[in-house]
Amino acid sequence: MSLLDLLALLPILILAFGGTAILMAGAWYREPRPLLAGGVATALIAAVAAGMVQPPTAEIAGLFSAGGYARFFTILWALLAAAGLMVAARYIMEKGLGAGEYVSLVLYAAAGMALLSSAIHLLGFFLALETFTLAFYILIASNRRCALAAEAGLKYLLMGAVATGFMAFGIALIYAVSGTLALPDAARLTTTAGELLPWGLLGWGMVLIAVGFKISLAPFHLWTPDVYQGAPAPVGGLLATGSKGAVVAALVGLLAMSGPVWHDLTDLLWLLAALTMLAGSLGALGQKNLKRLLAYSSVTHMGTLLVGLLCQSSEGLAATTFYVVVYVLTSLGAFAVIASLADERGEPMAFDEWRGLGHRHPVRCAVLVLVLLSLAGLPGTAGFMAKFAVFQAALQSGYLGLVLVGVFASVVSFAFYLRVTMLLFQSEEPASPRHAGTASEHAVLAACTAAILVFGLFPGILFDLISRILP
């Protein structure tokens, strides 16, 4: 560690120490608003820092990259943290949670995500992953008045712990074979003549299981709906977006750095991707609860992302990155809508609670419709361009079968997304009004909407950026 490293680490430091400072402030100062504002400000400053400060070194302590890619995701997660806090404000105040703890945990998780996205070392990867996972364990169960939240926390924790076991063992195997933990090398050295050595293969397989748990690949996805349902929407939003996006981002980074190393894993990934897309879309079809539906839909999306990863081409990686960004924005929007409608009766989740809500809250429900359509991949929204890019890359790499599975999943997903939209505008009797939402929630929604439309109609902006930062 040198001073230069510290400079490169500035955004992370801002997040971590900012979080700590707010934690300490929270211990004395119980008024939530300034703490929240401080948290948002910290996150935004971190984002700005990541954007403005040109890091003097290429990597930090050999564990993390300091390149454009890392900075890009640092900005993204910092912004996500800010948005997450803005959405969470009312939740914190109404539930009487410790704002200091909450804010610091979110900032800390964001730091973990940012680090994970830029991991170039298996130790860094592992630590960063554990960092924000731990934060989420706490955040999910943070509402101590809610039995479901406790249950969700338990489920996430136990599954996460087992996944950690797999991850550790997998990394150990990789290390055993390759003798290094530095990522491109570890990936490269586990292969000889283009094929993975057996243990290394198993090691990667086990890491894949752990990663599969984190990003809910089938059959490791079963926790997802329960946890999304139990977790409060502001946390669910972060969980659905950041914790998954950061992992995928790390994988993209890994692939981008090391070239095609997964040749031997292809079959397995193919299978997992297909299974995941099917399990997610079909699972969502049977749902009667929006949050569970979103959970299953996120499973589908992760399957699609895996397709992009599977391509291993630069096209595929760019597509995946784009997809991650878009997915994060849209999912955040969905959860933000749910959070903004929450009132003393809780968050609207069951379909019955959504029925006819479109007539009461047309604007927010319209946003929800847009978000859902974007998730489904309607042209004109960012979701379409994301799906388009992934399919394009997949076809380029010759994964026609996967694309067809993806098409099937997309059709099914349209079915369930549209069912929700129909629900919103069913008009037997207008639903009882929900909370009107706060300015900060509206701001987040507006930002998500704008992003969905802008990236949908002018995806070039994002694509150009991505192709410049991909390592």
Binding site: I138, E151, V162, A172, A176, Q287, R292
Partner: protein, 101 residues
């Protein structure tokens, strides 16, 4: 010492499977957590063996940090256990099934 590398790994694998068995077969949250600890220790064994095999320090460092991480995780996990116990007076994992489908 003349242990083939493979044997050390085999021990670790067996330990891992035992840990996994604990996770799968036991219903009590505490025991599941214990199973996870076993799995992590299996990983540690691989790391240490590999560290010796490659004559490197990294494996051992990973184990040290893994222990620390585990400690942190266990702290939270056990706090959760206490919390759940207070809520429900049970630690049978399957009792927590308020959400499904």
């Amino acid at each position: 010492m003349t242990i083939p590398f493979g044997h050390a790994l085999a021990f670790a694998a067996a330990l891992f499977v035992l840990g996994l068995s604990c996770v799968l077969l036991r219903r009590q949250i505490m025991m599941i957590l214990i199973g996870v600890e076993i799995m992590l220790n299996a990983a540690s064994l691989v790391f240490v063996a590999a560290s010796a095999y490659w004559r490197q320090v990294d494996g051992q460092i990973f184990v040290m940090l893994l222990m620390a991480i585990t400690a942190a995780e266990v702290a939270v996990a056990l706090a959760m256990v206490v919390y759940l116990w207070r809520r429900k007076r049970t630690l049978v994992a399957d009792e927590f099934n308020g959400m499904r489908g």
